[in-house]
């Protein structure tokens, strides 16, 4: 926290700059797709959101593993602070995907493997948040949620490979794959900048939320100490 606190304003500034640059590139500077025309711009929000949904869950799973093995309190708090941000990104990916699906596939929603597994991920995020806050002792809730997070991690590889294992309407990966990305540089760069901006947003929010949680814990301890007299 001693390092994180002075960094935060600069980090926030960098995030805003990155986001503005990424939005300019993706909304104005990048070309429209020859098939999808302007709707392709949804991709610059949808794909980074979906990456973040998986990335944040993986971070939570690693933090939970650290919390369960070494009982490190900061790891528990990191997992707790990440969950709502991850849920928000997952929701964002689902909504933008739905908005993109309507003009492209002709439907808001299909029950295929990718969409269903991401929906399950969203539910697991919600269950994680509910479990964390369900106990009178917050530490107990965080530990229980860590176990749930590790069990739910099974879903992450299923989401990642669902487009390859099953025949789905959702297109397979076109950036992270063997033999280099199959997407043109004019579209790849805005996408990567947006992904970086989303990562920075997560980092900023995570620092703020972890700081809040640590302060709340301190307040709880002080009130408990005062109540004891």
């Amino acid at each position: 926290m001693a390092i994180a606190n002075p960094c935060l304003p600069w980090l926030a500034l960098l995030t805003v700059a990155c986001l503005i640059w990424g939005l300019y590139l993706s909304l104005f500077a990048s070309p429209a797709d020859y098939q999808q025309s302007e709707t392709v711009r949804i991709m610059y929000v949808h794909v980074p959101s979906a990456w973040m949904a998986l990335f944040i869950y993986s971070v939570m799973a690693i933090a939970s593993l650290v919390a369960v093995i070494w009982r490190h309190p900061l790891a528990e708090i990191a997992a707790q602070a990440s969950a709502p941000i991850g849920a928000a990104f997952t929701f964002c990916a689902l909504v933008t995907g739905s908005l993109w699906g309507k003009p492209m596939w002709g439907t808001w929603w299909v029950w295929d493997a990718r969409l269903t597994s991401v929906l399950i991920l969203f539910f697991i995020y919600l269950a994680h948040m509910a479990l964390t806050s369900a106990f009178d002792d917050p530490a107990r809730g965080r530990r229980a949620a860590a176990i749930l997070c590790l069990v739910g991690f099974v879903n992450v590889p299923i989401i990642k490979f669902s487009v390859e294992w099953w025949n789905t309407l959702h297109q397979p990966a076109s950036v992270l794959k063997l033999g280099g990305p199959s997407i043109h540089a004019d579209m790849l760069w805005p996408l990567l900048i947006m992904a970086l901006a989303f990562k920075l947003i997560y980092l900023c929010l995570l620092i703020v939320r972890m700081r809040n949680e640590l302060m709340a814990a301190r307040v709880r301890n002080l009130t408990a100490a005062r109540a004891r007299g």
């Binding site: 399950i120 269950a127 509910a130 369900a134 107990r140 809730g141 229980a144 176990i147 299923i158």
Partner: protein, 222 residues
């Protein structure tokens, strides 16, 4: 191993003396399945097509309904701590309890399925697969649900929490469980779906046992 069988005998004896919980599940299953023809219309073709899905969803909800009774009584009266002090590893205690839970939910549901299937005009050829998939799938549901039930011990609004934790984990079991009977209805080979369900159940075995044991240690240590 004698402790293992003693726990199983004890649990079975408890249920035999107080069959209320069992009756609850059975009547819930019958009542809820009979709601569907009233709601979606009693057209025989439609009912025969959606019967596997309805039976599976209702079976899943019945399991969910019985989950809070899996660990909560032992936790509330403290006997879980006595069990943890016994010579048997906690993982095997979990296995014994989950085994009994599976016996007492999967068997009644499997026995009732032919009755419900007749009411829904389900093709008689799909019936053995339907019953088999339920017996296999409910084992996975018991194992995974046991984690949720153990995690929610001592929580506020525990029952809703158990549902919220368990349902996302149940979804894959439901998907492949239903697809077995669906494929049989369409006269397609259903071995593949059956093997996947078996694999999921085998996978749920260590995950469910270790996860539950972990959650129980956490619940008792606080």
């Amino acid at each position: 191993m004698t402790i293992f069988w003693a726990i199983i005998r004890h649990e079975l004896k408890l249920t035999a003396r107080q069959p209320g919980d069992l009756l609850l599940i059975v009547s819930f299953f019958l009542l809820t399945t009979s709601l569907f023809p009233l709601a979606v219309g009693a057209e025989p073709n439609l009912l025969a097509r959606i019967a596997p899905g309805i039976i599976w969803v209702t079976a899943l909800l019945s399991v969910l309904l019985s989950l809070p009774r899996l660990w909560e009584p032992d936790y509330n009266d403290g006997s879980i701590e006595i069990l943890m002090l016994s010579a048997l590893p906690l993982e095997l205690i979990v296995l014994a309890k989950v085994l009994v839970h599976w016996l007492l939910t999967a068997l009644p549901l499997a026995l009732l399925t032919p009755l419900v299937a007749v009411m829904f005009q389900l093709d008689i050829q799909a019936l053995p697969l339907m019953v088999g998939s339920l017996l296999l799938g409910v084992a996975a549901l018991s194992l995974l649900g046991s984690i949720g039930a153990a995690l929610a011990l001592g929580a506020r609004s525990g029952t809703v929490l158990v549902a919220l934790i368990s349902l996302p984990l149940f979804i894959p079991i439901l998907i492949f469980g239903v697809s077995i009977a669906d494929m049989a209805l369409m006269s397609l080979p259903s071995e593949g779906a059956f093997l996947i369900l078996a694999a999921l159940t085998l996978f749920a075995l260590p995950v469910g046992i270790l996860g539950t044991a972990w959650a129980l240690r956490l619940a008792v240590s606080n």
